[in-house]
Structure formats: structure tokens, C-alpha cells
């Protein structure tokens, strides 16, 4: 009998030990996956924050630029920079033939003309002189310099020619290739050329979409939640509404995209590809999340507080507005932020309403066409150029950073402002 008890006890201890082990290994697995994921993103993405520049001597030849004597600022703006840009690239190899000159030109981005122009506009006294100008290297050379490009492939399988590599290596040896922080990744809109592509347009698109989403979803959801929780009678009809709000929260996001496409674009003729439409579509998705969060935090307010206010002679409305709602706000706000964070990472509905279009301008309002960060990731991930691989990871980093900040903010609000009651 006693021995039996001993065995039973041992069995229970062993079961507990096993259970702990399962739990620990589950956590270990989760951490492992997270680490692999983050390591992969960082190791491919960090190089996107560096950009390779070729330092090329440019002679600002007034004749080639078609400039008169003593040109005005306007003249400088209208001048022709293409020829001097072309010439400075060609001059990298004095013995180059016509084909090779073309190859030389392709060693820098097609912005080289603009970069040279900017230099002169900054300092008009450069006319007639020669100056070393930083020109954005083409994405392929950028990758070569970062060591991401397989140089040992046969030439016909590479996008950089042997000749370009030779000149590039000469420049590297002369110290005429430099790597600097890639500010343009944040300030340039999307581009077909990887070296010029930035996240400015999609970043602004995301911001505008989220703002539109917040402005629509928050008031509607909070009013709905307050009404349902505090004022509406509890009957079959309100039960039915509650079930459907929960259902709405479970609807796949692409369905909301179809709704946006069918109603907002087709019926109301709102402008395509804009953060306005994106925001409205996302707000449909965020609505149930906020309603559920708000109702939960209203429910969490102890009934004794409501009774206290009612017994003091406060009306239902006063009780709700003076006591219940302020007390539920921390929970509601953190729920809202989490809902917005979800919306921020949403891709499918935005693709359906056309925010996947190639946008190479930075939107100034919610009515301008724009992409959004997750859609930008999708667009770049589809691109063939090697230069976009690191951009995808870099964009993911920006998006993740954004999401982490938002979630942190939600946590802070929850902990800091949540009132403790006895």
C-alpha cells in the first residue's frame, strides 16, 4: 500500500517534470525561429542602408552645357547636362570605343545627370572648372562592391560586363569608390532601378492609410461599443449583433479588399490606388478589433463604480461619460493601436484596391496614388534585380520597427494609465 503511494507520487513528479520540459522546448523553438528570422532579415537587409558612390571628375564645360556668358539661375536650371555627364563617364577610359562608352555610362544610375546638375546649382562658380562629383553607382556595381554579386559567373550570365568590372576595379584601387549611408532609401520614392528605389512613397502611403483608418474606425467603433455595452438592451437582436461583430473580425482581409473594390471604387468612384480608399478598406477590418477591445475594457470596469455614480444621482449618460468610458480608455486605446498595427501590416486588400501600382511620386495627401510598406515589400520581392533583395529585407526592417514601436506604445498606455481599484 505504502509502496503504491510512493510510486504514484513519483509518477506525478515525473509527469510534472515532463510537462515543464515540453513547455521549455516550446519556448526554445519559438525563440529559435524568431532568431533565425531576425538574423536572416538583418544579414540580407543591413547592406541596403549603405549606398555605393563613384567619384567621377566632371568638367563643367559651358559650351557643352549650351550656356551663354554670365548665366542666370534660370539658365543654369535649363542647361543641358546630359553631354557633360556623358563625357565625364566616357573620360574614365580615354581609349574607349563607342560600345565601351555606353557601358561606362551604365556604370552609374540614370540620375547621374541630375546629380551633376545639383552640384552646379549649389555652386555656380564651378563653370569651366573640373570637380570630383559623387555619382550613384548602378545597382549591379553596388552589389559587386558589397560582395553580393557572383563575379565568377561567365560574362554572358552577368549583367556587369568584364569591361565594366575592369574599370570599376581601377576606380576602387584609386579610392574613387565610396560607400556612404543610404539616405535616399528613405527620401526617394519607388523606382524601377534598384539603386534609386526608396520607401518614401510607400511610407507616406502607409501613414496616410493608417490616419484615414484611425479617423474612421476609432469613433465608429467606440460609439458602437459604448452603445452596445452600456445602453442597448440585452436581447436576441443584440446577441446577434455581437456574434456578427466577432464574425466580422474573423473575415479574411482579402474579402474586405474585394468589398473596397466593388463598393468604394466601382460604386462611389473614389480615386484608385489612394490611401483614402486603402484607409477606408482597412478601417472595415480594424472596426471589429476596436469594438471588441473597447467592449472588453468597458466590461472590466467594476459595476460598483457605475452603481456609485448612479446612486449619486448621475444620469446613465453622465455615469458612462464621466466614469465608465474614461476608465476603459487605456484598454480601448491599446486595442486600437494593436488594430492599427494589424492594418499597417495588411497587404491583400490593398493589392485589390490598386495600391500595388508602381508609384514613383511621394504622395502629399490621402488622395494621391501611393503604395504602402507591406505592398512595397511585395512589389520588390517580385522584382528580378539582385539590388532589390536587400531592399526587401530593409523594408521589412522598417515595417517591423514601426510595428514594434506601436506595440510598445500600446503596452505603455496600458500599464501607465490603467487605474487600479481596490
Amino acid at each position: 500500500m505504502n509502496k503504491n503511494k510512493e510510486q504514484l507520487l513519483n509518477k506525478r513528479y515525473k509527469a510534472e517534470k515532463r510537462f515543464r520540459l515540453y513547455g521549455q522546448s516550446a519556448i526554445f523553438m519559438a525563440l529559435l525561429f524568431l532568431t533565425i528570422f531576425i538574423f536572416k532579415i538583418f544579414s540580407t537587409g543591413y547592406s541596403a542602408f549603405q549606398k555605393t558612390w563613384l567619384i567621377v571628375p566632371v568638367t563643367f564645360d559651358a559650351e557643352l552645357m549650351m550656356l551663354e556668358q554670365n548665366p542666370s539661375k534660370e539658365d543654369l536650371k535649363d542647361a543641358d547636362y546630359y553631354d557633360i555627364a556623358l563625357k565625364s563617364m566616357a573620360d574614365l577610359d580615354p581609349n574607349a570605343n563607342e560600345d565601351q562608352e555606353n557601358e561606362l555610362k551604365r556604370m552609374v544610375s540614370y540620375f547621374f545627370e541630375r546629380e551633376i546638375k545639383r552640384e552646379l546649382l549649389n555652386d555656380p562658380s564651378l563653370i569651366g572648372k573640373t570637380k570630383d562629383v559623387y555619382l550613384t553607382a548602378s545597382d549591379d556595381l553596388d552589389q559587386v562592391f558589397k560582395g553580393n554579386y557572383p563575379r565568377d559567373l561567365p560574362e554572358d550570365q552577368r549583367r556587369v560586363t568584364d569591361y565594366q568590372l575592369k574599370i570599376f576595379d581601377q576606380l576602387v584601387e584609386l579610392g574613387k569608390v565610396e560607400s556612404k549611408f543610404n539616405l535616399s532609401f528613405f527620401t526617394y520614392p519607388d523606382s524601377r532601378e534598384a539603386e534609386l528605389a526608396g520607401i518614401a512613397s510607400s511610407f507616406m502611403g502607409s501613414i496616410f492609410s493608417i490616419l484615414v483608418c484611425l479617423m474612421i474606425a476609432f469613433p465608429v467603433a467606440v460609439l458602437a461599443a459604448i452603445y452596445l455595452e452600456e445602453f442597448a438592451p440585452k436581447n436576441r437582436f443584440t446577441d446577434f449583433i455581437e456574434v456578427n461583430i466577432n464574425n466580422l473580425a474573423a473575415v479574411p482581409s482579402i474579402v474586405f479588399g474585394l468589398l473596397g473594390l466593388g463598393i468604394l471604387l466601382a460604386v462611389f468612384q473614389l480615386p484608385r490606388s489612394t490611401p483614402l480608399v486603402g484607409g477606408i478598406t482597412l478601417s472595415l477590418m480594424t472596426l471589429p478589433t476596436i469594438i471588441i477591445a473597447c467592449r472588453a475594457s468597458l466590461k472590466a470596469v467594476p459595476p460598483s463604480i457605475r452603481e456609485a455614480a448612479l446612486a449619486m444621482g448621475a444620469s446613465k449618460m453622465q455615469t458612462t461619460m464621466h466614469h465608465t468610458v474614461p476608465l476603459s480608455m487605456p484598454g480601448t486605446l491599446s486595442g486600437t493601436i494593436i488594430g492599427l498595427a494589424q492594418a499597417l501590416g495588411e497587404t491583400a486588400p490593398l493589392i485589390l484596391i490598386g495600391m500595388v501600382a508602381f508609384v514613383n511620386t511621394i504622395p502629399g495627401s490621402p488622395l494621391d496614388p501611393a503604395a504602402s510598406l507591406p505592398v512595397q515589400i511585395y512589389i520588390w520581392a517580385e522584382s528580378a534585380e539582385r539590388g532589390f533583395v536587400e531592399k526587401v529585407s530593409a523594408c521589412i526592417m522598417v515595417l517591423l520597427g514601426f510595428l514594434i514601436i506601436m506595440n510598445l506604445f500600446a503596452q505603455i498606455i496600458r500599464h501607465k494609465f490603467e487605474k487600479k481599484w481596490s
Binding site: 438592451p233 460598483s304 457605475r306 452603481e307 456609485a308 481596490s422
Partner: protein, 258 residues
């Protein structure tokens, strides 16, 4: 207060029935509450004494399925009548709950809330005065006068309950309903509250629900005994405790059941 030897009746309830859905909780209650006296309602759990108390300021309205029948007449006015405004009613009839439930705001805001929503103070000074007199009446002033702007939830349980009493009297109610106000408190805090109740009956009519028969005997002048939703017996506390008419009352106060 005695006028020509006759005690004034403050609340007069006639044939009060209460239903929760289909279940009847109170049966034909007829109880008169005397002015400026403490009336204790005693009885075993679930006997309906709290339900009756909540009828008096219509707090049962909050419960969807609750229906109240019969008349409750306060100042010649039936509070169950359609024309009765609950906001005005609850201004006149304050309530203190079982568990201290201060608003999670400052001590000052807890007291000033009632006067604010009823527009009882014209200026900051007047409000300060209301807060001070209310806290003094609730015997809390000395303890909190230096920290009026700290949260009321930071006080001890007994202090919180006195804060709730101060909050209730801030709007100068005629009647104060107390629903087991000491059940969450220790004996010292309980003694303080009981002393306070005795003091408050000068200006207010008090109805207190309690589980403690000793407390009922100590603080009340009149007692009503409830059992299974019926008012078994009521009368002066002396009589109920020393010489009850009904066998059930006798059994209950001697501790034979409940």
C-alpha cells in the same frame, strides 16, 4: 424627531412586490420608516432585505429583468410613479454600498462629483466648503485634509467607506441607505462607522441592512426582520430583540437559524 409624541413617517411602503424575471423576490412588503431614526433591516442571506433597500432609490432599475410593484411614498410622492425622476430621487436618497467603492479619482473629486452634477456650488470656495463639511461630518477630515488631491483608492478600507459616506452626504440627502456598510471592514473601522451613523441620524433618516444582529441592536431604533422575501416582523429594536412576537424572529435573533 418627535412631534406631539408622534414619530414622523419618512417613507411609507405599501404592498411592494419585486420580481426578478418570473421569480418573486419580495412579497407584499408594508413598512414605514421613521424620520431621523436608524432603521435596521435584518434577516438571513437572500431574504430580500437588500432588494427592498434598492427599491427605495430605484437602483433596481439597473437590473433589466427586475420589476417592482406597489407604492413607495416619500414626501407624499410615489417614487414608482412614471412622473418620478430618478435623478432627483437619488439626489434626495443617498446610498452607501457593501464594498467601499470610491471613484478612482482624488478624494476631493470623489466628494465634489455629486454637488457638481447637481449644480450645488456656484464657486470654487463653495465647493471647498461642501467638501470640508462633508468630510467633517463623515469624521474623515482630520485624516485626509492634507491629501485631498491624492487618489481616494489609496485610503484604507475603513477610510474608503467613510469617504463613500462623505460622498453620499455631500448632496445633503434626506435619506441615506446603507447596504451592509461594515461587512468588509475590521472591528475598529466598524466601530467608527457605527459611531458615525449615530451622529448622522440627526440630519438624515438612515436605513441600514446588516448581517450582524449586534450591530442592528447597537445602532438602530427600529428593526425589520425579513425572511424568504417576506417582512415577518417590524417594530422598535428594543421590542424585536427582547420580546419578539413571531417565532421565526425569535429563532433568528437567538441564532437558531440563518
Amino acid at each position: 424627531m418627535k412631534k406631539n409624541g408622534v414619530k414622523m413617517i419618512k417613507i411609507n411602503s405599501k404592498n411592494v412586490d419585486v420580481f426578478y424575471g418570473k421569480k418573486q423576490a419580495l412579497f407584499n412588503i408594508n413598512l414605514d420608516i421613521q424620520e431621523n431614526q436608524v432603521t435596521a433591516l435584518i434577516g438571513p442571506s437572500g431574504c430580500g432585505k437588500s432588494t427592498f433597500l434598492r427599491c427605495l432609490n430605484r437602483m433596481n432599475d439597473v437590473i433589466d429583468i427586475c420589476r417592482v410593484k406597489g407604492q413607495i411614498i416619500i414626501n407624499d410622492f410615489d417614487i414608482n410613479d412614471k412622473s418620478c425622476d430618478v435623478v432627483r430621487l437619488r439626489e434626495k436618497i443617498g446610498m452607501v454600498f457593501q464594498k467601499p467603492n470610491p471613484f478612482p479619482k482624488t478624494i476631493y473629486e470623489n466628494i465634489s462629483y455629486g454637488p457638481t452634477i447637481h449644480g450645488m456650488a456656484q464657486s470654487k470656495n463653495e465647493m471647498d466648503e461642501i467638501v470640508e463639511t462633508s468630510l467633517k461630518k463623515a469624521a474623515l477630515w482630520e485624516e485626509v485634509k492634507d491629501r485631498l488631491h491624492e487618489p481616494g483608492t489609496g485610503l484604507s478600507g475603513g477610510q474608503q467607506q467613510r469617504l463613500c459616506i462623505a460622498r453620499a452626504i455631500s448632496v445633503k440627502p434626506e435619506v441615506i441607505l446603507m447596504d451592509e456598510p461594515c461587512s468588509a471592514l475590521d472591528p475598529i473601522a466598524t466601530a467608527q462607522i457605527e459611531e458615525l451613523i449615530d451622529e448622522l441620524k440627526k440630519d438624515h433618516t438612515i436605513i441600514i441592512v446588516t448581517h450582524s444582529m449586534a450591530q442592528a441592536a447597537r445602532v438602530s431604533q427600529n428593526t425589520g426582520f425579513f425572511h424568504l422575501g417576506e417582512l415577518i416582523e417590524h417594530g422598535s429594536t428594543d421590542k424585536i430583540f427582547k420580546n419578539p412576537e413571531n417565532k421565526k424572529t425569535q429563532d433568528y435573533i437567538t441564532g437558531r437559524f440563518g
